[in-house]
């Protein structure tokens, strides 16, 4: 059985008077998954989120979220979503608790649900304090709490991890995992792939309004076909060993003691078998997989050339 689709975009284009913010973007996200939108500033991430939120309408193409047209469905749709804007702002003079209660009332969520939410994001200790006294991380957590009000089916986070230290970031992804386990779909955007630490199921890379890559991280790794580097420390006479391995392998001698083999990711095991079979006097082996940044740069660069 197929998982129901939470987000369905078909050839979505959004023009502004001055520029084209999105150009023929199509993608599908099944329910209960976490999608990361990646791209530089101005790549169209926020525009895409606003379309999914129904704050703006596409110039052409179709947007379907939770089985509804977000811009037309209105209030029933908005009861089922949660949103954390980039650099979330609140009324500074109000306490965190009162702020959350205000949003709960608007969403028709029982007020009794607000304190457990503050507890969940670790803000109980500052609930009575005015938001003026909150740090960046605390504001972000309050933003997370308000997005989770009423257990929404879809949560959208715009640059949620920007400015968070690694500990808070870990905690944030912990919450995301809880949400997706519960069946909620999560979309988050970032301009740094490494910040996401491979915690998302799906990745969409946007570049100048176009979708240049979409799939799981493994898909993208395969598609990018970036080489794996295997560095072998052989102790002495690296060039001699390199000559022995020679046949068909891309071997380079790094220095007198070690050499490096580059291969495609699907050739990795074959290379290992070959190394073992050839009785290589390996002292140490170090494998470098392409990092998330390498993959991201690959796709960004790729398109940069295409546009130039």
């Amino acid at each position: 059985m197929m998982t129901p689709v939470a987000i369905h975009l078909a050839n979505v284009t959004k023009h502004y008077p001055r520029h084209k913010a999105l150009d023929e973007v199509s993608l599908q996200v099944p329910e209960g998954r976490c999608l990361a939108l990646l791209g530089h500033n101005g790549a169209g991430k926020t525009t895409l989120m606003k379309l999914m939120l129904g704050l703006i309408r596409p110039s052409s193409g179709q947007v379907q979220v939770l089985g509804m047209d977000p811009a037309a469905a209105g209030l029933p749709f908005r009861r089922r979503i949660g949103f954390l804007p980039e650099n979330v702002a609140f009324d500074e003079a109000v306490s965190g608790r009162d702020t959350l209660r205000f949003y709960a009332r608007l969403k028709g969520v029982p007020l009794a649900d607000t304190d457990p939410l503050l507890e969940a994001v670790g803000l109980s200790f500052a609930a009575q304090r005015r938001i003026k006294t909150y740090s960046k991380g605390m504001r972000q957590r309050l933003g997370l709490a308000q997005a989770m009000l009423g257990a929404p089916g879809l949560l959208l986070f715009d640059e949620p991890t920007t400015g968070l230290d690694p500990v808070l970031r870990q905690a944030f992804f912990h919450h995301i995992r809880d949400l997706t386990t519960r069946g909620a779909t999560v979309v988050l955007s970032s301009h740094v792939l490494t910040e996401l630490e491979a915690r998302t199921d799906l990745v969409a890379i946007l570049r100048q309004g176009r979708l240049v890559a979409f799939g799981t991280l493994d898909d993208l790794r395969r598609e990018a076909a970036l080489p794996v580097r295997v560095r072998v420390v052989v102790g002495t006479e690296a060039s001699v060993v390199a000559g022995r391995l020679g046949d068909g392998l891309a071997v380079t001698v790094v220095d007198g003691r070690s050499l490096e083999i580059t291969c495609r990711i699907d050739e990795k095991m074959a290379v290992f078998r070959h190394l073992t079979a050839s009785g290589l006097p390996a002292l140490d082996i170090d494998i470098q997989l392409p990092t998330l940044d390498d993959i991201y740069l690959h796709f960004s660069h790729h398109t940069a050339e295409a546009t130039a």
Partner: protein, 274 residues
Amino acid sequence: MRAIGIIGGKVIGDALRNRWIVGATVLLAGLAFVLSFLGAAPGGHVGVSPLAVIVVSLSSLSIFLVPLIALLMAYDAVVGEDERGTMLLLLTYPVTKRQILFGKFLGHTATIAIAVFVGYGAAGLANGIGREVDAMAWAAFGLLMISSVLLGMVFLALAYLASIVASERGTAAGLAVGVWLLFVILYDMGLLGLLVASEGRIGTTAFQILLLANPADVFRLLNLSSFENVRLFAGMAGASGEAALPFPVLAAALLAWVAVPLGAAAHLFGRREL
């Protein structure tokens, strides 16, 4: 309806917290008390109701102060939330733009109403209690308070328009000051100049239309010409037969001055994309 109440409640809560309600009430009460004592001294010994005199002086006070309070309170209602970034989040909640605007309008109106009824009411009661005050004077005083709130609503609606049209808070503030200057100060000066310059060639109807085109003038006429005893003190006794407009026309004009800018603001706000 629920959402309007929640937004309105937040506005009132904010106005309590940042002392807008207390400040406006104290200001109006203080000035009303001063005027009531200054006004009562010359009025007291000629044997007429001093409350009617107070209505005359308080309506002049209202014309200056109430629009100013309304504009200052509401000019950043929309553009302020845009700039702080709270509007974007609010719009993703199950609440329409119309509900946001009307909710704010409700909250701000309540704030002005509290200030007017408590501030003026206290001064009026202090003046009227223990004296013979005829029913007509009380009615005139009641009309003054109600129409002051309506005047406030007119300028709230104009402030929202400025707040929606402007893309920056500073621009909205400038527009608000401009609206105040135009309707409260410059318009009457211009009208007077026009009358003098035209040497009486402006007909009664044209003059009346020009008066109706300014909410502050509508408010003034409504208060100074509706009751006989007030007319006497306002120097409107003679004018009443000729140029004055009937009460229903003035009341309708003031209501239209609330409805039209508010409707325009709702329309423009609703049409706007983020």
